[in-house]
């Protein structure tokens, strides 16, 4: 569904959000540790997210990553996906035709459209803040045990 980069990116964002709500800025190492991702690769993804202003980064000692509590309700899952994987999943043809359109639909166009609409709505309506809540109350997890 999503690229590995995107999966790590989403997990990182949810983790950072959770810690930011506790007023803790987190380092790359903490993140990679807690979401069980390769450190250097995660760094690259955080750079992308930072350039897209989805997360704030601070260099130097006591530095790290954080998300302003005010912003995290406005950051949707979709925004993260778009920043990392682009908007392909939102609009490209499910069978790989050069374009997806009503004018020249592929055989699965209608079936896909409805599923894609559900997916897009979900991605758009779900915020990072919301997702960080389950983490807090221990009902959801970001890594295997």
């Amino acid at each position: 569904m999503f690229s590995k980069s995107c999966e790590y990116g989403i997990r990182a964002m949810i983790y950072i959000a959770g810690e930011s709500l506790k007023e803790r800025r987190v380092s790359l190492k903490d993140i990679a540790q807690d979401i069980d991702s390769p450190v250097a690769f995660t760094a690259k993804i955080l750079q992308q997210l930072s350039r897209n202003n989805l997360v704030d980064s601070v260099k130097g000692p006591t530095g790290g990553f954080e998300i302003q509590p005010g912003r995290m309700k406005k950051i949707s899952l979709g925004a993260i996906v778009k920043a990392i994987d682009g908007d392909g999943i939102f609009k490209t043809c499910g069978l790989g035709l050069k374009e997806c359109s009503e004018k020249r639909p592929c055989p699965v166009h209608n079936q896909f459209k409805s599923i894609r609409e559900n997916l897009c709505r979900m991605l758009d309506e779900t915020s990072v803040f919301e997702l960080s809540q389950g983490l807090k109350d221990g009902s959801t997890f970001l890594r295997h045990k």
Copy 2:
């Protein structure tokens, strides 16, 4: 969503079904031409589909690929996807955790679950026969113009 192989595979199956309904057996070249896919690569995919008994192949002059009209109503989109991409899309965690379970769900588990259920139902309920109909009446297409 699906791999390129899977996209070509689905397109090939729908095309072969359409031609089989006209009692025409089609060659690899015809298929690649009509679905606009790389010939040799398409051959590989057809081999997989053939090994999985989703399509029948006949060697030699007048040979090619076909699907028994009786079977095509029973071949679902899901069966093709499973034969080529495996069943990952049906059951792996949307955030890449080692397993997707209710016991230890990731933060997006519930949101994903509902979308994945829709997707699975659609893949399971949609048959190749059904998809070949739009092609016949000219309302759907397997390649760009």
